[in-house]
């Protein structure tokens, strides 16, 4: 039962991403061609509201469901891994038209060939784990 709230958040997330068309390959290409404000509007408004909310949460020391003061873990400091890793992800994002959330959502919309992309993404993650210590971070 304790998982039901996560299940509901997931359903909501899946619906929003389909209804916003953010799961569409075409919308991603349109974004990378700077031919529409749509995707920038989605990410931009999420970040503006998100930034405001996170700022308020920290300032007012808001507590979470367990009664603990909310802390959002900071990202580890580095430059190389974010730029290299980010660029590699970007190449895949524009080719597949789906990032790791939409991949699953799109399977739900009935695109079963997406399972091949998911399998390959698991393989890519595995390759990173094996090569991790040889890569510049």
């Amino acid at each position: 039962m304790k998982f039901i709230k996560f299940f509901l958040v997931g359903i909501f997330f899946g619906i929003v991403l389909v209804k916003s068309e953010a799961v569409s390959w075409y919308r991603i290409i349109e974004m990378f061609k700077f031919q529409s404000f749509h995707m920038y509007g989605i990410i931009g408004s999420a970040v503006v509201l998100g930034g405001l909310g996170v700022w308020l949460i920290k300032k007012m020391k808001v507590k979470n469901i367990d009664g603990k003061v909310i802390q959002i873990p900071p990202k580890e400091r580095s430059f190389t891994r974010y730029l290299f890793g980010g660029s590699i992800f970007g190449l895949g994002w524009a080719l597949a038209g789906a990032c790791p959330g939409p991949m699953y959502i799109l399977v739900g919309t009935g695109v079963f060939s997406m399972l091949i992309v998911i399998a390959a993404a698991i393989l890519g993650t595995f390759a990173y784990g094996v090569l991790k210590n040889k890569l510049p971070h």
Binding site: F12, I29, L49, I72, G85, G86, P100, G108, S113, I122
Partner: protein, 186 residues
């Protein structure tokens, strides 16, 4: 009801995504979808090959539950909450894609020229999906996050690393869209 059935504008969708992030934060977690790929590696026994995969995956079951929900959400959105109208793309995008061989851009969520089985079951088509997926899986873990973890959560939390990652997302995405897609499909 009509408002629900038609596509949702960005100023509705973006804030709703922020609500997803806040819900997970309130539940004591964080919003990050690519972590699930690592969890799935661990469940598959990848811990034998790298200590990167040696962690208690059961602590990540909540996130796999989000994934399951998202999949069902996708089903609900398409089959119950949609009027199946075409995506209102910029006509220039449609024209550009038509030149690359993508007919009827916007008539479906994904291009049949990449995702239909006729194409998927060719060597080129299969190669495209495998390479694309591999890059997504490798890149997100290398960068320590994807669109949800960096672009939404990281930027909302004023993290410089996330800004660098998002700049990387665009370097890769622009390279693919403007130089590689014309080579692959042109």
């Amino acid at each position: 009801m009509e408002f629900i059935l038609q596509p949702w504008p960005w100023y509705v969708s973006g804030p709703l995504i922020a609500i997803v992030m806040f819900s997970l934060i309130y539940f004591g977690k964080t919003f990050g979808m690519s972590s699930n790929l690592r969890t799935l590696c661990t469940i598959g026994g990848a811990g034998k090959y790298s200590d990167f995969f040696r962690f208690d995956w059961k602590a990540q079951r909540w996130n796999l539950t989000v994934v399951l929900g998202a999949l069902i959400g996708g089903f609900i959105a398409v089959y119950l909450l949609s009027d199946h109208r075409p995506i209102a793309l910029n006509p220039q995008t449609v024209a550009d894609l038509s030149e690359l061989g993508f007919k009827d851009a916007g008539q479906s969520l994904l291009p049949p020229e990449i995702y239909d089985w006729d194409y998927v079951l060719s060597i080129k088509g299969m190669g495209i999906l495998i390479i694309a997926g591999f890059l997504v899986g490798f890149g997100t873990r290398y960068a320590g996050g994807c669109t949800s973890g960096h672009a939404i959560t990281g930027l909302s939390n004023f993290q410089l690393p996330s800004l660098i990652a998002v700049i990387g997302f665009f370097i890769g995405g622009l390279l693919m869209t403007h130089f590689l897609l014309p080579l692959i499909f042109g």
